[in-house]
Amino acid sequence: MEQLKTIGRELAMGSQGGFGQSKEFLDLVKSIGEARSKAEEDRIVLSEIDILKRKLLEPDIPKRKMKEYIIRLVYIEMLGHDASFGYIHAVKMTHDDNLLLKRTGYLAVTLFLNEDHDLIILIVNTIQKDLRSDNYLVVCAALNAICRLINEETIPAVLPQVVDLLNHQKEAVRKKAIMALHRFHRKSPSSVSHLISNFRKRLCDNDPGVMGATLCPLFDLISEDVASYKDLVSSFVSILKQVTERRLPKSYDYHQMPAPFIQIKLLKIMALLGSGDKSASEIMYMVLGDLFRKCDSSTNIGNAILYECIRCISCIIPSPKLLEAAADAISKFLKSDSHNLKYMGIDGLGRLIKISPDIAEQHQLAVIDCLEDPDDTLKRKTFELLYKMTKSSNVEVIVDRMIDYMISINDNHYKTEIASRCVELAEQFAPSNQWFIQIMNKVFEHAGDLVNIKVAHNLMRLIAEGFGEDDDDADSKLRLSAVESYLQIISEPKLPSLFLQVISWVLGEYGTADGKYSASYISGKLCDVADAYSSDETVKGYAVSALMKIYAFEIASGRKVDVLPECQSLIEELLASHSTDLQQRAYELQALLALDARAVESILPLDASCEDIEVDKDLSFLNGYIQQAIESGAQPYISERERSGMLETTDYHSQDHHEVPPHALRFEAYERPKPSSVPTQASTELVPVPEPSYYSEAHQPISTSSVSERESSEIKLRLDGVKQKWGRPSYQSSTSASSTPPQAENGTSSHPDVGVGSSSLKPRSSYESKKPEIDPEKQRLAASLFGGSSSSRSDRKSSSGGHKPAKGTASKPPKENPIPVQPPPDLLDFGEPTATSVTATDPFKELEGLMDSSSQDGGSTDVMGLYSDAAPVTTTTSVDSLLSELSDSSKGNPGTYQSQTSKGPNSKEALEKDALVRQMGVNPTSQNPTLFKDLLG
């Protein structure tokens, strides 16, 4: 029957030509509709393009035929094929006097062209003419085209006509003229800034359609500049009141709601105006309250208005009564069976939670249901809500959930986002370092290629610096746990590059530190990594550096080093590598193996990755040498800036200039002979001395010393950053816990591990009505999410304490009190404001120095700067000869004298690391370096 109907319809259209369409077009549509494959469709379209190209070249095409062709072109382009050969015909058609043809022409050009297309210039004139037409439909068509085709340069050409049209007798024209002006305002606010008052005027238009249209530009204007529209608050409120009282024509009703779209727009505007403004908000209370009462929540559009009211209330300064009404509306949404409404409820909850944080508690089970829901959109929204309500008491559950979800999805875009959120929450609220490292491992393992490289650097830094206090024992435990977890993970196939870098670095730095693992075991693992990921140079570089460190520590501790055969072959392979970086590392490693223990120890001291390197920027150790040279008649160094402002840009750091006479103009004749050398002045003469001569020596050091001054202060900055803390330590006293001590053990044993939260929970739809039957698992999850109640907190605490020692990672603070756990039934008393019990030691204090991600970034660039500054020194032969007496092994290893000249012990390696960081930062293969910028900055 249905088929018959469609056949009949087709026949009817075939013969009558539908909206003036010919048989050919219908045939085209039909054959494309019947195409079985994309290839077949393409073939049909390509032959159609051929036909059209041929036909369009024919002379004297009848207009009706031409219109037909143009419609076919539009259709072809919608299917994704290029129809640009026919654009010019569409442009021509806009010139036609026939309304039908003109409209077709306009339709085609608005779909074909963008505002910067070359052909636009041919249309502007037509548009100008059409805007003045007597036929309002022609005017409408032109206004339609304006929105799409007019750019900043052509706005002035049509602006006067459009402004005139604001007073057109037809409301359809007024409406579109306002929209066109709005579009101009969006494109180029300055071009219409003098016309903004027109929008206010049109708000009083007696046609509700025009008034409604005016709300669109006003919304934009108000969101840009709230202050100058405060006077309209009462007007908007009274309009909304009139609308809700059904003063508008019946034709604006939609599903028995009076003009709902206008109401929504008004509510949006009110939200803007009432934000942070008590008096404006108070004007709105009445009408908002009415809306909550009147809104029909059985229709979709009624709920749309309710939702908009909630949004409005979350923006303005609400009265407690309105908040209550909003909370009621939200709970209705959440209890609904419709996923759309649940989504709205979760969204509303996320908005209101900022104002009244306890609102989420009564809906916790609904939220958890949404978390288990098969609907992805709803799930994501719920995660967003959880993200907003994360605090230190529930971070473990939430982040665990997020990671489970992250692992389950394939969408890289969202995976990146949720990974960055995990990292952010973990950094902000982490209860312990172990936990933080575990979370980071998971994030790296499953989304490693999507994570910002800074996150990896933070993690390495955390492991290296540990608690940042004197607690060395805890530090080494932390490292051991990291090493153990990495040794477990390392043999898994296909780990992300970034994660391998972290693993290699940590294994190199701490793999053998506590003697649990032998050097050959670790180095074997590292060789495996280098082998397995032989195409990834960065990973290989990290692995080789790690090997070097392992061997260095072995040599330094006086043990005999047996280089594994696979390691030897790896080194040999890399000696011939095409990558200079890998080659260099391999040579360095080879050279290091030949050194004695004393030299090695100064090259790569144990656990010194976080020591600061002090580079002697003034090169004061050269003073004696310079003195000597000057006394024996050498030219003193003249900095480049002093020599000539226009000299070619050679590196002014290169110190051998004082030996090579500058090849620009020479000014010695005017110089007073000064016995003291350049660098000695550097530290004393910071203030430029006003001297008549531009070229006097007094100016020389200023450039260098000011640079060094700046950089040394940056180093200082970095040190300060180390003292940063974790997020706010929102722990409370554990007094309440003492009330129920005897049940503690029972509670713990019978309810294992809520904290991990990975246990699957059965999805349930009814939670409120059948309270006693609620799955206890879910209750506990709810409790730990919405927590604050002592039972959930302590339950989780002790359970986490239970599983940590099993992994050998536990470093429970010694002062921890036995935390009593309340019996399960208490879990239902979520609302009860019992104090959260937390371990007596402050975990946040111990984590000092962990969170200084920003300072570390600053730090790495610092060191890079130092490195580039210092680089010429190491390569200058004169310096080399000077230093040759320092160590007889220096020739073999370029890093040795570097570490001795500078006071910081481990400079070479840290420099190398930072060079690598720099390399990777610049490296185009690094994953989206800017993606996390705002999240992790």
Partner: protein
């Protein structure tokens, strides 16, 4: 602001696509395909909203509705109300229903330019212009009448088309 309106059938063939920001033809196809692949992987009876940042850039939302063989899709930014957008689709469909009496996919396929006319009356330059389907119908009928009149002058009058009889 509304970024795009799309109609496509359940096989992913675009039936109507209108973008309110300029995209190249290739990009348009990519977006249509991307939207379709997201839509067809969604089960029945779940929410009609989607966050679609990955295709349309940050702050992009999508509302869709599935009617018989057609998906109606609206893409918009954060300044619109999701539920209201869902109802805007309803307005569009109700209007089309009045236009074609019991609208089906074929009506949309064969009345390509009329579809655009209807849509232009509802959404104008990315903003919701008119939401009363009777008003839209009035405007569309005015246009059809005038077009018919001008048509009659310049072209050989054809038999009155079906929709005009209503």
């Amino acid at each position: 602001m509304i970024k795009a309106v799309m109609m496509m059938n359940t096989q992913g063939k675009p039936r109507l696509a209108k973008f309110y920001d300029f995209f190249t033809v290739e990009k348009q196809q990519e977006l249509i395909r991307g939207v379709f692949s997201v839509l067809c992987s969604r089960p029945e009876n779940i929410s009609n909203f989607l966050e679609i940042d990955s295709l349309f850039g940050p702050d992009s939302w999508l509302v869709y509705k599935h009617y018989a063989t057609l998906y109606f899709v609206l893409v918009f930014d954060g300044s619109e109300n999701e539920l209201a957008m869902l109802d805007l689709i309803q307005v569009l469909v109700e209007t089309l229903d009045k236009c074609f009496s019991n609208v089906c996919e074929l009506d949309i396929v064969f009345n390509y330019s009329k579809m655009h006319t209807v849509l232009d009356e509802i959404v104008f330059g990315g903003q919701v212009l008119e939401t009363s389907s009777t008003e839209v119908m009035k405007a569309v009928e005015d246009i059809s009448k005038l077009e018919a009149a001008s048509n009659a002058v310049s072209l050989v009058p054809k038999s009155v088309s079906r929709w005009r009889g209503r």
